[in-house]
């Protein structure tokens, strides 16, 4: 079986995208001060987070699989992460 990239894997899923509201907010100052950016980027199975050249973390919330791993590895205050609004986000068909 051909090895698939994360975007290719995510393309197999069904998402109901909430176009109006992101459920993730990064506090760049806290990330910088605590150095937790690397862990957030490396642990997220959906590659939601990218560390940009200037060190700030960008977010692709539409790809989120809602597992909560980022919140677990982030320093306190680094992330505001809650579930998307009802009916939005990943909709598993297999699970």
């Amino acid at each position: 079986m051909k090895s698939l990239s994360v975007p290719e894997l995510l393309a197999k899923n069904r998402f109901e995208l909430d176009e109006e509201e992101s459920h993730i907010e990064v506090n760049q100052e806290v990330v910088k001060a605590t150095g937790c950016g690397r862990a957030i980027v490396a642990c997220c199975p959906a590659h939601v987070y990218t560390q940009e050249a200037d060190g700030h973390i960008s977010v692709e919330y539409a790809a989120c699989l809602e597992c909560g791993t980022c919140l677990a590895v982030a320093a306190t205050g680094a992330l505001k992460w809650h579930y998307p609004r009802g009916g939005f986000g990943i909709q598993f068909r297999e699970g």
């Binding site: 698939l4 490396a42 642990c43 199975p45 590895v73 809650h82 598993f92 068909r93 699970g95």
Partner: protein, 442 residues
């Protein structure tokens, strides 16, 4: 006599509000409805199951007590009759292949796909009279100051407020409700793992041929070693009817300490030369992940307070003994105990922490609850680094010394083992201490 703790009948919309239509939430809602209680089950996904994901093995005896026809009616995939325990090294693979006809009947474990199972559970709830609200996210709980401190009286979702005598937080491992009311604090990373999984479609006949199965029998592979590039955790492969659930579970403290990328470890496992042939020709149909509570008993704190109980993953109820990884059966057991405890609390018109104490008592008296205590030392044991690399390589090298007839005169097994042992970072004292710890923990 203290004043009755149940608020006046006119003030509540339901006897019980259940947040989260997973295994725990559905089973609790179902049993309470069967007691004749009015129950609402609130689910943030489009439909029950659409947010839910598990590795895939459900130890099903508890579920069968709740639904006697579970195996005949529910959309289960395969009945596990083959457990394969695999030390996977870079170049070698050593396994224990355990098949047992006694596991055929009575059925002990089944594979499930939660987006298929949970809608069935929710349907059972509806038949029993549970009111289901899908696509609704609970934003917070409603509390009031009571005689014994803060008391949960309902939930808020958007602009809507719902009130009940008891709220059940069945909102999963991230339980925002348990955190909000202070029953859960941020967990240390050695208590948490991330599970990364995909479902790979293959024809039914191919699944059966590759895993040496007949009919609706199934296999569960538990893999440790190079499969996770040495990161604490393991890989798994479970057979469904016409697909395979395959992935890794990675302990977060170790993933960070070893500076690995979760998706790269996942990819490494799927493309490992000992794993890839099982998946050859298959098509990935879904990719998902799930945070796993691995702290065992140490993670389970207070599970009830005035007006609220937590069940299943939300209560930290998962158990990894190294060989069996359990969550859904504990969800069932906690839900059954919660329904018993809440029923009694409602009967006695006392839904305070003390009134709900029957839940904890019933749970820890159940086989699942007792197992949580029995295996309390397992998480610490499974953090031993050697488990994920050195032991597998040691066994592989001993066997290589035996089977590699390289035109050199053979040596006695003891000598081969001794040489492999000398090259390995594993020392006699480790064998003794790990063996002793293992016996005590498992």
């Amino acid at each position: 006599m203290t004043a009755p703790e149940v608020s006046q009948e006119s003030e509540v919309d339901f006897d019980v509000i259940v947040v989260g239509a997973g295994v725990a939430g559905c089973v609790a809602a179902y049993q309470l409805a069967q007691q004749g209680r009015s129950v609402v089950l609130i689910e943030r996904g489009e439909a029950p199951g659409s947010k839910n994901l598990s590795g895939g093995v459900l130890y099903c005896r508890g579920m069968q007590k709740v639904f006697p026809d579970f195996l005949q009616e529910a959309p289960v995939e395969r009945r596990i009759t083959r457990n394969y325990i695999n030390f996977l090294n870079e170049q070698s693979s050593v396994g224990i292949d355990y098949k047992d006809s006694r596991l055929v009947e009575p059925v002990n474990a089944v594979t499930v796909l939660r987006a298929k199972l949970d809608p069935w559970l929710a349907e059972k709830c509806e038949e029993a009279g549970v009111f289901i609200m899908s696509s609704v996210r609970v934003d917070r709980v409603l509390t009031e100051d009571g005689p014994t401190g803060k008391r949960v009286v309902g939930v808020q979702a958007g602009d809507d407020e719902l009130r009940a005598h008891v709220v059940i937080a069945a909102d999963g491992v991230n339980s925002f409700i348990a955190q909000e009311v202070g029953l859960r604090t941020k967990q240390p990373l050695n208590h948490l793992a991330t599970g990364v999984k995909c479902v790979v479609n293959l024809p039914k006949e191919t699944v059966e041929a590759r895993f040496n199965l007949t009919g609706d029998q199934g296999a569960a592979f538990a893999v440790v070693g190079d499969c996770t590039q040495g990161v604490g955790g393991g890989g798994f492969m479970y057979t469904n009817t016409d697909s395979i659930s395959v992935g890794v579970v990675l302990r977060l403290d170790d993933l960070i300490a070893k500076d690995k990328v979760a998706t790269e470890v996942f990819d490494h496992f799927l493309s490992h030369p000992f794993i890839a042939p099982y998946l050859e020709g298959g098509e990935v149909v879904e990719y998902g992940c799930h945070l796993v509570a691995e702290g065992g008993m140490a993670m389970v704190g207070q599970i009830a307070m005035d007006g609220l109980v937590v069940v299943g993953d939300a209560a930290g109820l998962t158990l990894n003994t190294g060989l069996t990884v359990r969550g859904m059966d504990l969800a069932v057991a906690s839900a059954v105990a919660a329904a018993t405890g809440i029923g009694s609390a409602l009967d006695h018109k006392d839904t305070s922490t003390a009134g709900l104490a029957g839940y904890g008592e019933a749970f820890f008296a159940s086989p699942a609850g007792q197992d949580m205590k029995t295996y309390a030392k397992a998480p610490g044991f499974l953090e031993v680094e050697r488990m994920y690399k050195d032991y597998g390589e040691l066994i592989g090298n001993v066997l290589y010394g035996i089977f590699n007839l390289d035109e050199q005169p053979r040596e006695h097994l003891v000598k081969v083992a001794f040489k492999a042992f000398k090259r390995s970072p594993v020392k006699i004292k480790h064998l003794i201490s790990d063996g002793f710890a293992g016996v005590r923990a498992l």
